[in-house]
């Protein structure tokens, strides 16, 4: 009897630290975000608010959402446009370009060593600490000392064509945003894809070759169709993580200074999650920032439910398995 209780308790004991972490780092912020999103908490009423926390003295209001949805905040529209540009273009690098690259590396490159070198090249940004990766970009694009301008000059691009700042001048700034995030994000798709390509039975490829397919036709008619689920998985997963990610933009462009917008706004790289971050930590409008985040959370949850419907549990957990 005692043993069987022990059996049931022991796993819980092992899981406890993890469950505690989840509660602290995930559930409680979520509850707070929902709560704060319906209040007008800011730096001005902060102390009073904390005293009345979770009592009915706090006025619950829909003001924040009115500001967002009725365009009372003039920047919401632009932020939305930048976010769509960000998610769609980085996603196409992460999901589609990474696919082409994986096929090139894992199928067309028959030399194992070369294939491995190429794979590591794309993994480098992922294993570099984020702040160093960001600093390397900042240095790379520096108009005075940067390698980029130096290279372009060597290739014969006249000085007058070069922008005074890659960081500020649109559309270069936005291209930069896409590249910085695309390069570091591509590795995720590539790991999933290369594993999936390697799991395709060689006989299938051989059969197609014997049937008269060229190497290119093998890629198009056998490999890509077989990667259907991995492709969907990477797309789904990356959409979620891109919607809520802003760390590289924050590290390169900064969140805010002065008026609280930094150069992210003028460079045209202010994505939704960074906007929420800015509202909270540069302008200290905590209620409004929570409301902004809440919209992202809602979209994310809706997507996750949709994905479960499409994939089923097993495919979401085993993305690299090719179904044969």
């Amino acid at each position: 009897m005692a043993r069987s209780i022990g059996r049931r308790l022991l796993p819980l004991l092992f899981l406890a630290p993890m469950l505690l972490m989840i509660a602290l780092a995930w559930v409680s912020p979520l509850v707070l975000t929902v709560y704060l999103g319906f209040t007008d908490l800011s730096i001005k009423n902060f102390l009073a608010f904390v005293k009345d926390f979770f009592t009915d003295k706090v006025s619950i209001t829909l003001d924040n959402f009115r500001r967002i949805f009725y365009a009372e905040d003039p920047y919401v529209g632009e932020t939305l446009r930048v976010t769509v540009l960000y998610v769609v273009s980085v996603l196409s690098i992460n999901a589609i370009y990474a696919l082409a690259l994986s096929i090139a590396i894992a199928y067309f490159t028959k030399n194992e060593l070369l294939s491995m070198i190429l794979r590591v090249t794309w993994l480098l940004p992922r294993i570099t600490p984020g702040i160093i990766y960001a600093l390397m970009w900042i240095w790379f694009i520096d108009p005075k000392y940067g390698l980029l301008n130096e290279m372009l000059r060597l290739m014969g691009v006249p000085d007058s064509w070069l922008p005074d700042s890659w960081l500020l001048r649109k559309p270069y700034s936005q291209m930069l945003m896409i590249m910085i995030n695309g390069y570091v994000g591509a590795s995720f798709g590539m790991i999933v894809y290369t594993a999936a390509i390697k799991s395709i039975p060689p006989d299938l490829v051989n059969a197609a070759l014997v049937d008269g397919a060229s190497e290119f036709q093998v890629a198009r008619r056998i490999i890509i169709p077989l990667l259907k689920w991995p492709i969907l998985f990477v797309t789904a997963w990356q959409t979620l993580s891109l919607l809520s990610s802003y760390e590289y933009i924050l590290m390169v462009w900064g969140a805010g200074s002065g008026q609280g917008y930094g150069i992210a706004r003028s460079a045209g790289v202010m994505v939704w999650s960074l906007y929420s971050y800015t509202k909270a930590f540069a302008e200290h409008l905590y209620g409004y920032a929570s409301a902004l985040s809440l919209i992202l959370v809602a979209i994310g949850l809706a997507l996750i439910i949709l994905y479960f419907k499409i994939f089923g549990f097993r495919r979401l957990m085993e993305p690299s398995r090719v179904e044969v």
């Binding site: 039975p201 006989d203 299938l204 051989n206 059969a207 197609a208 070759l209 014997v210 049937d211 008269g212 397919a213 060229s214 036709q217 008619r221 056998i222 169709p225 077989l226 259907k228 179904e323 044969v324």
Partner: protein
């Protein structure tokens, strides 16, 4: 249809020598079986003929054209893989149509040919299904259909029946043989099942450890095995093999082992003694007669060890000293374990192999 020639072909994977100096000629329209134990290089050989692997050394010819460096798509080959390798994302119809689509055959003609092949193989009911929804036998026929639909010059079959149950296997064996004769396609058929090879092929190439052991028609292979490996591999139950020496006494030659002495037919002894004296004697189970009571003078005496009824015959295990003989006897023979009997090998059908080289001496 073409003649396929392998001219001193070798394939090495790093240190692994999968195929070594293979010479083989398959005549136009011939059905040749590649027979050998697992890992002897059968699949590797097929993949070289198909153009998937490039030989490390040697040449492959189709008729008189050197195809060694030709990519698979330019060889017009149909192949059934060991795993069938059906495209899991395509229906049966699309699987069979795939080679034709790649050839840019007009749509109506594709449709006609796919249906024709499907009918021939009796899979016309299955055209809308995906491979995952098929049984092993059905998959095998789809794979065969995909290989046949392009009207290949050479058909390569890699153990196509190994995944089927015994009954279906015998059925499909006859089907494939009939089909091959009807279409007259030059065919290489890989198997490790000697019965399959013997019953289907015009000629059999026996391989072991990447090397060709013997290339002959089934009868020759059975009656005149070129070496110990072939002798032991072909035939079931296998040939009895006994180590011994050739000894001369008063002008007569005897085979002497640790447990018995057997007089060799005149002429044979001299012939062998001139080459070597340490040999291995081989006699097939059906080439030994069991003699009850007194018999001829040239017999070996032993005791019955175990009797295994096989239905049509009895498989009798007989102990002669330390040596165990397996003998096929008529089913109505009454034998008891422990019973003393005499064995009379058929003089004309004994085999002798050089113990050092393993090669057949007669």
């Amino acid at each position: 249809m073409v003649r396929v020639t392998l001219d001193n072909v070798s394939k090495f994977f790093g240190k692994v020598k999968a195929v070594v100096d293979l010479n083989l000629e398959i005549r136009d329209g011939e059905f040749v079986a590649l027979l050998g134990p697992s890992g002897c290089g059968k699949t590797t050989t097929l993949l070289m003929v198909a153009g998937i692997y490039k030989p490390t050394r040697g040449r492959i010819l189709f008729d008189d054209e050197d195809v060694t460096d030709l990519p698979p798509k330019d060889r017009n080959i149909g192949m059934v893989f060991q795993s069938y390798a059906l495209y899991p994302h395509m229906t049966v119809y699309d699987n069979i149509a795939f080679p034709l689509k790649l050839k840019k055959v007009p749509r109506q003609e594709i449709d006609r040919k796919v249906k024709e092949v499907a009918k021939l193989l009796q899979i016309d009911e299955l055209l809308d299904r995906k491979p995952a929804q098929l049984s092993g036998g059905q998959r095998q026929r789809v794979a065969l259909g995909r290989a046949l639909v392009k009207e290949p010059d050479v058909l390569l079959l890699d153990e196509p029946l190994s995944n089927l149950d015994a009954k279906l296997r015998i059925l499909m064996r006859a089907e494939i043989k009939r089909l091959q004769k009807e279409l007259g396609i030059t065919t290489i058929y890989v198997t490790h099942d000697q019965v399959e090879a013997m019953s289907m092929a015009d000629k059999i190439a026996v391989m072991n450890k990447g090397r060709l052991q013997q290339y002959a028609d089934p009868q020759t292979l059975y009656n005149k095995p070129a070496n110990l490996f072939v002798a032991g591999f072909i035939g079931s139950p296998p040939m009895n093999l006994v180590e011994g020496n050739i000894v001369e006494e008063n002008g007569t030659y005897y085979f002497v082992s640790s447990s018995f002495k057997y007089r060799l037919p005149s002429g044979v002894g001299e012939l062998i003694a001139s080459e070597t004296s340490s040999v291995i004697l081989g006699v097939r189970p059906e080439d030994i007669k069991i003699v009850l009571g007194d018999g001829d003078d040239n017999v070996i005496s032993g005791t019955v060890y175990v009797v295994e009824p096989l239905g049509r015959d009895l498989l009798v295990n007989v102990k002669v000293g330390e040596t165990l003989f397996k003998i096929l006897a008529p089913a109505d023979l009454k034998l008891e374990p422990g019973q003393s009997i005499l064995l009379a090998p058929n003089e004309k059908r004994i085999h002798l192999f050089d113990r050092k080289t393993g090669r057949a001496v007669i």
